[in-house]
Amino acid sequence: MEKNIFNKYTFYWILTVALFYLAIQGLISANILRAYYQSILLLIGINIILALGLNLIIGITGQFSLGHAGYMAIGAYSAAITLKYVNGIQGLILGMLIGALITALIAFLVGLPVLRLKGDYLAIATLGVGEIIRIIILNLDITNKAAGINNIDRLASIPLIFGFVILAVIVTSNFKRSALGRACISIFQDEIASEAMGINVTRYKVMSFIFGAILASFGGALFATTYSVVRPEFFGLNQSIDTLVIVVFGGMGSLTGTVVAAFALGIINLLLQPLGDTRMILYAMALIAIMIFRPKGLMGSFEASWKNFKLRKPKLAHGKVNE
């Protein structure tokens, strides 16, 4: 165990992130990463933030939620409305804070009763909550009903989204590797034993539920300012399932998996783009194939870590590297 935050692993991570960022900027200035690819990169970033939040709820605490798009919608609309009154990046931050506050409140009020349910029942209840949020938005004047809000300030840029992704990764992974995260994992492992070990199960379930929901609202706000338009129909069950696919595909509980899966799915989508309508069939087939060959997701429960990283030494003759 390290003594404080100023240790060599923190330094390695800063270096890794900086190199990755420089690589992206390099590719942009070399005109390899054109505007279209950049927009896909932004979407991948937003998906990472959404999926990290959902992974906290589903993969770490084990509470199956299908209402993620609802919280995303709250974040998106809060940002969109705030940006009408306050311009620029301050407006976005203010909108995100307002969205986070509303989301936290709703997640708290909904979480307390709903998180008593388990498995399928919880999934249906959270699905209901997501739909209720969407339908309320569809009927409010301030959200402009079905027409939605257009011409939202476009503030999204690679550095902005990148910054938020890094922030989301830091908070979720710090949470996971703390006593609070251990409590949540133990609830997923065995709720009864967890309570018998002195864990206040309700408290941690609601905590991770709110935490995940806030990340969804941030994802929604960034979505709004990236696409400049929000409509209620964007935030239906399909959106929740898209996020769920990233979590399951990457490996339940693996934050590394979520990041890798968001990239992998973004790239698969991109490669299939020229195929037109058959794309969705192939995309689904790719998902099925990967779930057959890697039933625990791409990464299983693996987490990238500099601490556990060792250079593999060749062990066999003939210069082969032993895996």
Binding site: I5, V171, F175, A179, S186, Q189, A193, M197
Partner: protein
């Protein structure tokens, strides 16, 4: 004042009385056995004592220092915080986690930081985590499970899983342990190892233990006092020798002579 005093405890499920008007006391440092035929209500009694079920009637009083705490209305996690922990009839370890992490979760209450400390990795996070890590390792060494620290719980041999579950319950800082059939499914060698393990930890950690068990060799060897439950009622109480020759107990297990 006894460490634990159970007074007229009753638990009804609809029209069925699973535990009926049970009263007993447990003194500090005792090792008490709870036996009875299948369906006598032993596990239900444990579940009531540890807060899984609320009792229909009666009181559970725990002496802590010079205070008396009424446990019967508290949720399980609060009862654990008061120093009463348990194991389960069917092992309930956190099976995808290492033995070390299982113990760390039991020590979770000792973490000296909250959400902010965890997210920002403040100095108190590192201090507290280092402390928990060291204590969890020292604890595993104390109970001779330190060699298994990094192994996932589900990959441990059956006997070790039972031991780890008992160790994990102790790691919550428990003063009283309720063990629900610790020797269930064990072969004679494993049972013997477990008997030694229980004796060992009891003296080492100055624990009070109440255990449910069907393996009479274990019960008669280690229990100082035995309670016998039948149809939810306490029918006998005494030393192992007294219990062996108690006609009511023989009747409960083997039936009437007629």
């Amino acid at each position: 004042m006894s460490l634990l005093s159970v007074q007229k405890l009753t638990k009804n499920f609809g029209g069925i009385t699973a535990v009926s008007n049970v009263s007993f006391t447990v003194e500090t440092g005792e090792l008490v056995g709870l036996i009875g035929p299948n369906g006598a209500g032993k596990t239900t009694l444990f579940n009531v004592l540890t807060g899984v079920y609320d009792p229909t009637e009666g009181k559970i009083l725990l002496t802590k220092g010079d205070k008396t705490i009424e446990l019967s209305k508290l949720p399980p996690y609060k009862i654990t915080h008061h120093g009463v922990a348990r194991t389960f009839q069917n092992i309930r370890l956190f099976k995808d986690l290492s033995a070390l992490d299982n113990v760390k979760i039991a020590m979770n209450e000792d973490a000296q930081y909250g959400l902010i400390g965890a997210l920002l990795r403040l100095p108190r996070f590192y201090r507290s985590e280092t402390d928990i890590d060291q204590r969890a390792r020292a604890f595993l060494k104390e109970v001779h499970l330190d060699e298994l620290a990094e192994i996932k719980a589900k990959n441990l041999p059956y006997g070790k899983q039972r031991q780890l579950e008992i160790a994990r319950a102790m790691a919550t800082g428990a003063k009283i342990l309720f063990l629900d059939e610790p020797a269930a499914g064990m072969n004679p060698q494993e049972t013997q190892a477990l008997t030694k393990f229980i004796k060992d930890i009891k003296t080492k950690m100055n624990l009070t233990i109440v255990l449910i068990e069907h393996d009479m060799s274990l019960v008669m060897e280690i229990c100082e006092r035995i309670f016998v439950l039948d149809y939810g009622k306490l029918i006998a109480e005494g030393t192992p020798d007294q219990i062996k020759h108690n006609p009511k107990v023989i009747e409960a297990y083997l039936g009437d002579e007629d």
